[in-house]
């Protein structure tokens, strides 16, 4: 456990040191949220209806943008071998790195979402569902993303290939997530979408460490 936490802490401190940590993720979230209405034309009513979708899509993109370096840096400086030779299985290392990634991207976004939703004029009634759905669903971005990141870790310019690989895995989450919020706004029962979201998250939690570690082992050999 102490080794697991050490890795989480190392990645967090690396993120803070060079990337600005969660603040950068937040700033990106803000900028994209600002850019979208600019392109679309800021008719408020149009925006309000689409707000939940916008926010979920931005969350996916923010995660995507920071994912490509998740294992790349470790692969390039030889740290991956050290992670593989620790006492913990490589699966645990992947999980620790996902946790650190989520703590710097997903979590702050979930917490800041109400403010952004307000800026986008989201109808009241969806705020609770927005935060809750982001908390439950955004780990998938880190977890499923980790699989793609592990697969492309050895490759230069893996960034774009990475997006091609993980966006299909993100699509259902965005649909379920936005669906949950929309249902809440319309006062409808959003249970189905939310349950599917939670299920995806659990599924990713089980699958990602296994698949990610397998992909990393391929890269190592």
């Amino acid at each position: 456990m102490s080794a697991f936490l050490a890795l989480v802490r190392r990645d967090l401190s690396l993120a803070f040191r060079v990337g600005g940590g969660p603040f950068l993720g937040l700033a990106f979230f803000l900028t994209v949220t600002a850019l979208l209405p600019l392109g679309v034309g800021a008719r408020l009513n149009l925006l309000g209806e689409a707000a939940a979708g916008f926010l979920w899509v931005s969350a996916a993109l923010a995660a995507l943008l920071s994912l490509d370096r998740l294992f790349q840096a470790d692969a390039e400086d030889g740290s991956l071998e050290q992670l593989a030779l620790g006492d913990l299985p490589l699966e645990a290392a992947v999980l620790a790195k996902c946790l650190a990634h989520w703590l710097t991207t997903g979590l702050p976004l979930a917490l800041a979402a109400p403010v952004l939703a307000l800026m986008l004029n989201m109808p009241a009634g969806g705020y609770g569902a927005l935060v809750l759905s982001l908390l439950v669903g955004s780990p998938v971005f880190s977890l499923a993303g980790a699989i793609g990141a592990a697969l492309t870790a050895g490759l230069r310019r893996g960034g774009l290939l990475l997006s091609l690989l993980v966006l299909p895995l993100f699509v259902p989450v965005v649909i379920f997530g936005a669906g949950t919020v929309t249902a809440a706004i319309n006062g409808a029962e959003g249970d189905a979408a939310f349950l599917l979201l939670a299920a995806s998250s659990l599924f990713a939690l089980v699958l990602a460490p296994l698949a990610g570690a397998a992909a990393l082992r391929i890269h190592l050999s």
Binding site: S2, A3, L5, A6, L7, R9, R10, S13, L14, R17, V18, A73, E76, D77, G78, S79, E81, Q82, L83, A84, L85, G86, D87, L88, P89, L220, S221
Partner: protein, 206 residues
């Protein structure tokens, strides 16, 4: 601080990279308390052999076994965990983190036998402890990586050109660290282009 005495045995190892068979029928037994220098020309496959021994690369054929008291450790196709250090051509250091922080992480990831200050002192980087590793010189980085091996007690050291980028004092230091490791009952293998320790066994890869 103490560790098991282990022996590593490789038998009939063949190594293929891409379409090329680098070497085959390579065998070696490295006993506790000995250093085996793996020598051979550039591209012969020394680094590949070390990765095979560490379980990071699959051999085309042959077996590797880590043995303690005649008993083979680890599962059939996977090397035992927690027994070895692998130091590759790359130093595995995080540039944005300081020397001390790098060691601190390694200490908690692997479980350390010595303190971080002791390790910094041992490799003469006391003054550089608070410097981000990205600012260190090539030789200082290598020293730090060696300090990491020293700090964490593991019986089997697999070192790929441990003396690369080191000055004369650094090479003497590396030899000292390895000698102390052997004296404590450790086993060491090092790919190298220059003799590291007088009296070391040599394994040649053609």
């Amino acid at each position: 601080m103490g560790f098991q005495r282990v022996e590593i045995r490789a038998d009939g190892i063949a190594c293929r990279r891409g379409e090329r068979l680098l070497f085959r029928d390579f065998g070696l037994t490295a006993a506790s308390g000995t250093l085996t220098e793996i020598v051979g020309p550039n591209g012969a496959g020394k680094s590949s052999l070390l990765r095979i021994l560490a379980g990071l690369l699959k051999a085309e054929a042959g077996t590797v076994a880590v043995v303690a008291d005649g008993r083979v450790l680890g599962r059939d196709d996977e090397p035992p965990s927690g027994l070895m250090h692998y130091l590759g051509h790359l130093d595995a250091l995080k540039n944005p983190m300081t020397a001390r922080e790098n060691l601190a992480f390694a200490a908690r990831w692997f479980g350390a036998a010595h303190g971080i200050d002791a390790a910094l002192e041992r490799v003469e980087l006391k003054a550089q402890g608070e410097l981000p590793v990205g600012y260190l010189s090539a030789g200082q980085r290598r020293r730090l990586a060696l300090g990491r091996c020293w700090m964490i007690a593991r019986p089997l050291w697999l070192l790929d050109e441990p003396t690369a980028a080191l000055d004369a004092a650094g090479r003497a230091l590396a030899a000292e660290l390895i000698a102390a490791h052997l004296a404590a009952g450790g086993t060491a293998l090092a790919a190298t282009h220059e003799p590291i320790l007088a009296g070391a066994a040599q394994a040649m890869i053609a």
